[in-house]
Amino acid sequence: MTGNEVRRRFIEYFANKGHSAQDSSSLVPHDDPTLLFTNAGMVQFKRLFMGEEQRDYSRAVTCQRCVRAGGKHNDLENVGYTARHHTFFEMLGNFSFGDYFKKEAIDYAWEFLTKELNLPP
């Protein structure tokens, strides 16, 4: 399965489970002075998690562009020498803002990996 297909299927799977498909936010985080670059999917939802902001959805799914270089996650020196380190990567994520919790989250993840992607359980 191609990377593009994984990305598409992930969004589709969670959209079908009532998640609002949101665009990736910018690598330059807006009004977050604690961060040099957007480094995870949750960055654009931080205020939602903290109950400081309301949106018309309580479940979301994204494929977020991320950079980890400089700052807390400094991967620059390792990149190239290991199989997994990147400065830029895409993070697939599903989010619940006071909606579902542990059980559903685990069920969804398991189902997506084993049924959608057909990874051996």
Partner: protein, 723 residues
């Protein structure tokens, strides 16, 4: 996530990639360092918020945050053990292989280089598309390091010249379907990579050569214990701008050690040296008077932040020849040093103060104030009256109105700088500044013209801050504290250990020695009056403030009034009216063109019936009225249709230049060629021309010679027939 924010326990989903990729240790299990159990997906059950002090508070609603790296999942699904072998990277790596004419997967070092380039090209492409530009601080600095690291790894696989831009381009090709916002950044990306590769390329090649020699030498001398000394690394960095990151990478590759402590020590020494006072100044261009003052340890204290006039004594006078002088009299141009002064010396873009120095029975007009060497503030100007002697008591008085207007512009420059960062982005850096009485000028890094909408947004922000009438505060702090507090330091400026920080509420904080107004409300009003490009990636804005902004607006209104008077209608409808007028003008022009052509064409029959006989050949030569090159060709076409056998040359005045066309009927092209004919005729009007044997065109600058040229046609034809 940062150190603060929502958090909670998490549950990780790992995948067992099988025994063969594992470490084979008996205790190998999930969480082992080896590659067997790969963390695929992290599910965070958010229940708490962690603040700056590490205190955890319960979140209002427990939530879910999950993250799974696409590159990992793709690699696992495609049966690859390395993320870089998934199809997300393959096209990029293949492109790099093609450029380098090398294969991927055979050599460990080549693999690493290709992976670095591919990874860094992805980061570069996305960062640039999100508005990050390479620079020397913050996000831009991280991007610059990423780009330079990639360019350097390119050299290890033989990629010289500009290659990185094409790799980024490839990334963009592969990603724009999933990220459509990338498409609009292609041009910017090309420009940014081109600039960075060009700038960095030379430095890199030179530095790599030096480093290569050094390492070979060290290995010969020290064998396996080879250590690149800190002094050398520092010299590469300081003199040639060679990145230390890259020295570290190369040290790893070549199995030599890197002298971190020595490098740090060399850096510290450099900082100490640059701090030492005037000895670093190029003394050659200083006058001997100034050098003598320096040797005597003279200096003056600036007291102008709090006062504009002060009584003091004359410490020294430098005369027109640049020599120290005990006294100078009326009509002489001098530089005067006093032990203290309220005069601001030109610096940081702000012009030097002007004003007067007065003493018993004498006065001098200060036309400029400079500080050729730190601490030595010189008042320069003409003695208008009396004799000025060293040691006398004087009153120094700054011209109020000029200083105040300048202060408004300086404070406004800070507001503008902060507002531009807000509107245009963090890549905006001050590249130059001029603050004077009449206006302010601000040069800054930015890659495209600032749009009208952006200008309005910037003006709105600045004028809002002006209306808030915020107090402008200044404080002297040590440099490190000031910068860590978030004060904007200008790149490339040298700052002392103690710096003055000028802050305007929470809106702006800059390191600045200039004189400012006490509250933003004094500025009254700021208006940007021009925006231009002055160099690649550098734009310039000019703005006016206070009284001058008001007169600028009044002036504009009176000009607008004039326009609406002329159009005899309200200004609001002027745009539509002018559009209508221009449209009408265009229609009329087209009408004129149509009629001109018609007249020219209706004259054709007369024209064809005339003509001269040259050796039995009919030669027509005439001037016609022209409105466009098209008309000339149209007339030519008609003549060709109607003229059975003959030669014709027509010419006309087209926007002050001569336009010519020659025609030769098919039966005569062996006798006279249209191209040769037109060349001869065109010479007379100072031009050249050419074309086919049966038709040719020419132009020439000397339209006044057109009649002469047309008149000579029969003669020229005769001449050509003789050949």
């Amino acid at each position: 996530m940062g150190d603060t924010g929502p958090c909670g326990p998490c549950s990780e989903i790992h995948i067992d990639l099988g025994k063969e990729v594992g470490c084979d240790r008996p205790d190998c299990a999930v969480g082992c360092d080896c590659d067997r159990f790969l963390e695929l997906w992290n599910l965070v059950f958010m229940q708490f918020y962690r603040d700056e002090n590490g205190t955890m508070t319960r979140l209002p609603k427990p939530s879910i945050d999950t993250g799974m790296g696409l590159e990992r999942v793709a690699a696992v699904l495609q049966g690859k053990f390395n993320n870089f072998d998934s199809d997300l990277f393959t096209p990029i790596i293949e492109h790099i292989c093609a450029l380098a004419k090398k294969e991927y997967g055979l050599d460990k070092n080549i693999n690493a280089s290709m992976r670095v380039i591919a990874d860094h090209a992805r980061a570069t492409t996305f960062l640039v598309a999100d508005g990050v530009l390479p620079s020397n601080e913050g996000r831009g600095y991280v991007l610059r390091r990423i780009m330079r690291r990639a360019i350097r790894f390119g050299r290890t696989i033989g990629l010289k010249g500009l290659f990185f831009g094409t790799v980024c381009d490839k990334v963009l090709d592969n990603m724009e379907e999933a990220y459509p916002h990338l498409s609009s950044s292609r041009e910017l990306l090309n420009k940014v990579t081109h600039n960075e590769e060009t700038r960095f390329g030379e430095t890199l090649d030179h530095g790599l050569a030096m480093l290569g020699e050094k390492i070979s030498l060290l290995k010969r001398e020290q064998g396996d214990d080879a250590l690149i000394d800190g002094e050398f690394i520092f010299k590469l960095y300081d003199t040639f701008g060679f990145p230390v990151d890259i020295v570290r990478d190369i040290a790893i590759e070549k199995h030599v050690s890197f002298d971190e402590a020595g490098f740090e020590a060399a850096m510290a020494k450099q900082r100490e040296q640059s701090r030492r006072s005037w000895k670093g100044v190029d003394v050659d261009h200083l006058s001997s008077g100034i050098t003598q003052l320096l040797e005597k340890g003279k200096s003056s204290a600036f007291v102008g932040y709090t006062t504009k006039a002060v009584d003091t004594t004359v410490d020294a006078i430098i005369n027109t020849e640049g020599l120290l002088s005990a006294d100078c009299s009326q009509g002489e141009r001098v530089q005067v040093l006093c032990s203290q002064t309220p005069f601001y010396a030109e610096s940081g873009g702000q012009v030097g103060d002007i004003g007067t120095i007065s003493w018993e029975n004498g006065q001098m007009q200060v036309e400029s104030t400079t500080e050729p060497v730190k601490g030595l503030i010189l008042h320069e100007g003409l003695i208008q009256e009396g004799v000025l002697k060293q040691g006398v008591s004087v009153n120094l008085s700054v011209a109020d109105a000029v200083r105040d207007a300048t202060a408004l512009n300086h404070t406004a420059t800070h507001l503008l700088h902060a507002a531009m960062k807000e509107v245009l982005g963090d890549h905006v850096k001050q590249a130059g500044s001029l603050v004077e009485e009449e206006r302010l000028r601000f040069d800054f890094t930015h890659f495209s013209p600032v749009s009208t909408g952006e200008i309005v947004a910037i003006e709105n922000i600045v004028n809002n801050e002006i209306r808030k009438n915020i107090d402008v505060m200044s404080a002297v702090l040590d440099r490190e504290t000031a910068i860590s507090d978030g004060a904007t330091a200008l790149f490339g400026e040298k700052y002392d250990d103690e710096v003055r920080v000028v802050s305007i509420g929470a809106f702006s904080k800059e390191l600045c020695g200039g004189t400012h107004t006490s509250a933003t409300g004094d500025i009254g009003f700021l208006k940007i009056v021009s925006e231009t490009g002055i160099a690649s990636g550098v734009r310039r804005i000019e703005a006016v403030t206070g009284k001058r902004a008001v007169s600028w607006a009044q002036n504009l209104v009176s000009q607008a009034g004039e326009i609406s008077d002329i159009l005899s209608g309200p200004l609001g409808s002027a745009g539509d009216k002018i559009k209508t007028l221009m449209k009408r003008q265009k229609e009329l022009e087209q009408e004129v063109a149509r009629l001109t052509a018609k007249i020219a064409l209706s004259d054709l029959d007369d024209l064809l019936s005339g003509g001269t006989d040259v050796n039995g050949i009919k030669v027509i030569a005439c001037e016609v009225m022209l409105d466009s090159p098209k008309t000339l060709r149209e007339i030519g076409d008609k003549i060709r249709d109607k003229m059975k056998s003959g030669i014709a040359v027509i010419g006309g005045n087209l926007n002050g230049k001569a336009a010519l066309l020659s025609l030769v009927s098919k039966d005569l092209t062996n006798t006279v060629k249209a191209g040769a004919l037109i060349s001869e005729v065109a010479k007379i009007v100072g031009g050249k021309g050419g074309g086919r044997p049966d038709m040719a065109q020419a132009g020439g600058p000397m339209a006044d010679k057109l009649s002469e040229a047309i008149g000579k046609v029969p003669e020229i034809v005769q001449g050509l027939m003789g050949k």
